[in-house]
């Protein structure tokens, strides 16, 4: 732990050092200007204090050179701040591909989290140190926000959307996470702890709890049959709907000519609003499943579709554009 009066939280993720460095940079610039202006104001106040009741100041109306300097210099400095922030943000909004995917569902006023193996946790999250972790988040009711100050990350959890965030814990320990977007009565109680463990401890912890039947891939596979998805989305591409083999993270050619990467948000949208983005060569036949699936069902279906990523892609009738074929 730090001293009695800490000025910054612990640096426990890959983002923390760069965010803190940027913080120091911007603070230094701001401090310079704040101190300079304050000194000038205070100095003028004493130096030019009125001496006789009728005294007036020296009429100076302005100076173009000075105006130019203090237009341009702050602008250039501001642009460096923008650039520094942009670099971190772009990195943050583009998760790497080799992530450990955790599903997060926020509801008034608790967090439900699910490990890739299907193990569920409530207001607790266990992750291995040094591994890229991606949170795929949905809300069952209002807008929430998953925030881990020690990792310097947060992201809103919006109903009707998937939002993702990622980080790589760099230090084992227990760290607070909070709900940062006001969500009603017990907003302040909607938090918990992230436990960052050594990878071996993490595997031991995972295997110590049996949750095979809750595995989202298995549950999603069941739903895929129950909801009759499997009658059209045949794996060999001979059905009325595109084969889903290899579709996740692949490039999909749409009917309007554009191409899109099949990420979590696209898969979700295709389940809930199937006609929004039709795959080229297919008819808009699929009914929407909005209102018939819970957020957890959608997460399970998505997990199942993702598990097909490594399956062989058929030559025709695939949703995904094959590398080299185009």
């Amino acid at each position: 732990m730090q001293s009695q009066l800490p000025l910054y939280p612990e640096q426990a993720s890959n983002f923390a050092p760069s965010v803190d460095a940027l913080m120091v940079y911007i603070t230094a610039i701001c401090l310079f200007f704040a101190v300079a202006v304050t000194i000038a104001v205070v100095y003028f106040f004493f130096k030019y204090k009125r001496k006789t009741p009728g005294e007036i100041g020296v009429p100076i109306h302005g100076d173009m050179r000075l105006e130019t300097v203090w237009l341009v210099v702050p602008l250039l400095l501001a642009l460096t701040m923008f650039a520094g922030g942009a670099v971190i943000y772009v990195d943050y909004r583009r998760p790497p591909l080799d992530t450990l995917d955790i599903y997060v569902i926020g509801k008034q006023w608790m967090w439900k989290l699910q490990q890739p193996t299907g193990l569920r946790e409530i207001n607790e999250l266990h992750v291995p140190v040094g591994r890229n972790v991606k949170l795929i988040m949905a809300s069952e009711d209002v807008i929430h926000d998953f925030s881990i100050p020690d990792f310097r990350v947060k992201m809103d959890v919006v109903p009707g959307h998937y939002n993702t965030m990622w980080f790589r814990p760099t230090k084992t320990g227990r760290y607070h996470f909070f709900c940062s977007q006001y969500c009603g009565t017990n907003h302040a109680l909607m938090g918990g702890w992230v436990t960052v463990m050594e990878p071996s401890d993490y595997s031991a912890w995972l295997s110590g709890s049996s949750a095979a039947d809750a595995n989202p891939v298995v549950a999603g596979g069941k739903l895929f049959v129950e909801k009759a998805c499997s009658t059209c989305h045949l794996p060999d591409g001979k059905g009325r709907a595109p084969s889903l083999n290899g579709v996740y993270q692949g490039h999909v050619q749409l009917a309007d000519g554009s191409t899109i990467t099949a990420d979590d948000a696209y898969l979700r949208e295709s389940i809930l609003a199937p006609n929004a983005k039709i795959v080229a060569g297919f008819q808009p036949l699929m009914p929407t499943f909005q209102g018939q699936l819970t957020e957890e069902d959608i997460l399970a279906l998505t997990a199942y579709i993702k598990s097909l990523q490594s399956q062989p892609v058929p030559a025709t009738g695939a949703g995904v554009v094959q590398a080299g074929k185009k």
């Binding site: 583009r94 990467t261 948000a265 696209y266």
Partner: protein, 103 residues
Amino acid sequence: MSDTESEHHIVSPKVYLTIFAALMVCTFLTVKAAEVDLNAYFNGLNIIVALVIATFKASLVVLFFMHGKYSPKRTKLVIVCSVFWLAIMLFMTMSDYVTRPWK
């Protein structure tokens, strides 16, 4: 005090009737155009045609019925501002939604 010409411009009824006729023709055109599947040529063409005609009609009303054409510069600036700010709202908000799927 007054930085504009303030005299009243009188538009003749002939001009009004011409504009009225043009508006009627445009209304007819826009209904007819909507019944043709223009989207077959270019996706979204129906909407574009409908909105272009609507904008043209609105411009006629502003310029002639509302005397926008004969108004002082200040009034013209006010009109341009209203359109500009509406555009900011529409375009900058839609820019968020349109660019979301981009990677």
